[in-house]
Symmetry: C2
C-alpha cells in the first residue's frame, strides 16, 4: 500500500564537482564543471530504481519539494514526483540535475572562465542536448548507477531522454518522452531566433558581458519570455483564460495595458527577467535548435534510433502547437519501425505545450500506471531485459 500522495518535503541541493575535461559537440571542451543536483527517495541496494528527470528551458534540478529557507519555492514537477505521486519516491530514487550552461548553480555563463579569469558571458560554449547527456552520464557514474529505471523529460527534457536512449542504450530501461519532438521546425527556430535577437540587440546585453556592467538585458529577456509564453499556451486556452477581457473596463487609447492578456504576458516577462540569465537563454534555445538526432543519418530518424534498446513511453497533447502530437508520432513511428516496445498516448488537453507541467488526471494517471509497470518489472525482472541484453 502506498500512502496518500504527498510532498517530498524539505530538500537540499548538492553540488557535484567534475574535474575531468568534458569534450563538447562544438569541438572544444570544458575544463571542469559543477552540476547542481537534488535527489528524492532512496536508491535501492541493487541501484536499479533510479529515475533521471531532465529539465526544459527555464527549469532546474529543483524538481520536487521545497527549501527550508524558501518554503514557497516548490519544485517544477512537484505534481509528478513525490511519495504516492506518479513517479513515486516511495519506490524510486529520483534525480534532478541542473544542466551545464543553465543559471541555477551548475557551471554557466555567469561563472568564471578559468582561461580568462572573467565570467564566460557569451563565450560560454554553445552546449548541446548530447553534451548535457554526457555530463549527466558522469553524474550517474559518480552515483554508482549503471542503469536508470527510466530517464524522463518533457519538451527539451524529452529530447535529453531521447538522446540518452541513443548515446547510452544500455544505461536506461525506460525512456519517457513527453510533449517533445525529434527536431525543431523552421517555425520553432524562428520563434527562438526572434527571442535571441531581442536579447542580443538589447543595449544592456553588452555582447554578453553585462555582468561587468552591473546591468541585466531586461528588455530583451522580457520580450523573449513573452514570445515564449505565447507558444506555450494554446490559442483556445488563451481565449478561455483571457479572451478580450479588458483590464480597465474600456479601451484606453494609449500604449499602457488594455487587455488582460497584455497584463499577464508583461507580468510573466518582468518576472522572468528578474531571475533568468540572458546568456543561458541564448544557449539553451540553441540547444533546442540544434537537436536533430537524424542529422547524421541523412534525415532518417528510424536509423538514428536503431541503436536504442530501452522501452519507450511517449505522450503528447492535442492542443500543443509548439511540439504537436504529429511530432511525437514521428518518434513513435521510427521506434516501431525498429521494433521497439513503445507506448504512446495523445492526451486531449486544452492547455497547449504547458500541459506537460499541469494537473491533468488522464496524463498523471498514465504516467503513474507506466511507473507502476516499471516497478513491477524491477521486482520480477531484476536483470534488465533490454533489447540488446536479451540477445
Amino acid at each position: 500500500m502506498s500512502s496518500l500522495p504527498g510532498s517530498v518535503g524539505i530538500v537540499t541541493p548538492q553540488a557535484f564537482q567534475f574535474d575531468q575535461p568534458l569534450a563538447l559537440q562544438n569541438g572544444t571542451s570544458i575544463a571542469g564543471y559543477t552540476l547542481m543536483v537534488e535527489t528524492y527517495g532512496q536508491l535501492n541496494a541493487a541501484k536499479s530504481n533510479a529515475v533521471l528527470i531532465c529539465h526544459a528551458l527555464n527549469a532546474s534540478h529543483h524538481v520536487a519539494g521545497v527549501y527550508a529557507d524558501d518554503p514557497k519555492n516548490v519544485g517544477w514537477w512537484d505534481n509528478m514526483v513525490g511519495p504516492g505521486k506518479p513517479v513515486d519516491t516511495n519506490k524510486f530514487f529520483v534525480i534532478g540535475v541542473n544542466n551545464l550552461g543553465s543559471c541555477f548553480g551548475s557551471t554557466g555563463p555567469m561563472h568564471t572562465n578559468p582561461a580568462t579569469g572573467k565570467p564566460y558571458g557569451a563565450d560560454f560554449p554553445v552546449v548541446t542536448v548530447e553534451d548535457w547527456v554526457n555530463a549527466q552520464a558522469r553524474l550517474a557514474e559518480r552515483l554508482g548507477i549503471t542503469q536508470f529505471a527510466a530517464v524522463m523529460g518533457g519538451s527539451l527534457g524529452g529530447m535529453q531522454a531521447l538522446a540518452w536512449s541513443i548515446l547510452y542504450p544500455d544505461s536506461l530501461r525506460h525512456c519517457v518522452v513527453v510533449a517533445s519532438t525529434p527536431k525543431l521546425s523552421a517555425q520553432n527556430i524562428a520563434f527562438n531566433d526572434v527571442a535571441r535577437q531581442a536579447i542580443l540587440t538589447d543595449p544592456d546585453f553588452h555582447g554578453g558581458d553585462f555582468y561587468a556592467h552591473k546591468v541585466v538585458p531586461r528588455r530583451g529577456l522580457r520580450v523573449a519570455r513573452m514570445i515564449g509564453h505565447i507558444t506555450y499556451l494554446s490559442d483556445d486556452d488563451m481565449a478561455e483564460k483571457f479572451g478580450r477581457d479588458l483590464k480597465g473596463g474600456d479601451y484606453q487609447f494609449g500604449y499602457g495595458v488594455d487587455f488582460e492578456i497584455e497584463s499577464y504576458l508583461r507580468y510573466q516577462g518582468d518576472k522572468f527577467s528578474d531571475y533568468f540569465d540572458a546568456n543561458t537563454y541564448l544557449l539553451i534555445t540553441k540547444a533546442l535548435d540544434y537537436f536533430d538526432p537524424a542529422r547524421h543519418t541523412g534525415g532518417d530518424l528510424a536509423k538514428a534510433l536503431a541503436q536504442t534498446k530501452a522501452k519507450f513511453l511517449l505522450a503528447s497533447f492535442t492542443t500543443d502547437w509548439r511540439f504537436s502530437p504529429e511530432r511525437s508520432r514521428e518518434i513513435v513511428k521510427a521506434l516501431v519501425s525498429n521494433k521497439r516496445t513503445v507506448s504512446y498516448a495523445e492526451i486531449d488537453a486544452p492547455h497547449g505545450h504547458d500541459a506537460f507541467l499541469l494537473d491533468d488526471s488522464r496524463y498523471l494517471n498514465l504516467i503513474a500506471a507506466y511507473y507502476q509497470r516499471i516497478d513491477t518489472e524491477l521486482q520480477t525482472e531484476p536483470q534488465a531485459d533490454l533489447l540488446g541484453a536479451a540477445a
Copy 2:
C-alpha cells in the same frame, strides 16, 4: 473583350487635404488631415464603378503600378488591380488610400501637431478602423462618389471593408473581405503586444519622440517585424521554404546565423526598420486589437451586422493561422442569419495569412469572377439594388 492582363503603368499619388476636424473614437478630434491617394482606371459618368481598396498594416495607397522615378516600387496588390486583372481597371475606377496615422504621406505621427508645433510622436491619436473609414468617407465625398461598386481589403483592410458595410450601409454595393476576422483573439493581441513592447522599450524610442533625437528604434521595429512575419507564414510553408536548411552548411555554435530561416527573418526585420515608422506600428496594431463591431451589441455579431445592406464576398485560406477560416465563417454565419447575400470561399493554399497578397490562381480567379459579376450588375441594374433600397 478585355486586353491581356497588364500593369496600370506609371502612377502618381495625389494629396487630398481635409480642413474640417474629424471626430475620433477616442473622444477627441483631429484638426485637419491629408490623405495620400492613388487612382487607377476611369470613373464612369454615373460614378458607379468606383472600388475602394483598403490596406493592411504596412501597406499604403500605392496599390498598383510603379512610380516614374522608382520603377521597382510596384504597388502591393499589383497582381490584383490592373487592366485585365481581377479588379479590372478597364472597367473599374480603383482608389488606393493611405490611412490616417500611417507613414506614407497621410497625416501621421511624424507630422507636426498644430497644437504643439512639434511632431505628434506617440501623442498621435490612437485611431481605429472606424476612424479610418470616416476619413475615407470624406474622400469619397470629395471625389463625388456616393456609392462604391465595392469596398475591398485583406486582413486589416478587410476589417475596414466590413466597417464600411456597417457605418455606411448605403455607400457600397459590394463588400469584399479577404483573410480577415470579426475581432482579434487573445493570441492575436498577445503577438501585437509583444511587438509593441519591443518598440516601446527600445531606448531609441524616446517615448515616441525619436524624431527629435535623430534616431530610429530600429531594434524594436526589427523584432516586431520578425514576430509579425512568423504569424504571416504557415508552419508548413516555412518548413517547405526553409526547413532546417543551414546557411553555412554546418552548425556555427555561436549566435550569428545558423539557419536560413534566421537569415530570412533578420533580413525582413532590417528592411522593415529602414522604412517603417515606429509610432505608426504602435497605432496600427492598436487599431487591429480594438476592432470588434460586436462590442456594442453584447458580443452579438449578427446584431452588429444587422444594418448592413451590401452583398458580400468573403475569402479565407486554409493554412492562415493568424486569421483562420473559422474567423471568416463567423462573419459569414452572422451575415447569413441576417439574410444577406454572401459568397464565401475557403481556399486551400499553403501560404498562410500572406496568401491574400500572392498569386494563387483559384483565389485570383474567384475575385475576377466576382468583379465580372459586379460589372454585369452595374450594366444591368444601374440603380443599386441594396437590401434597404429595394424595399
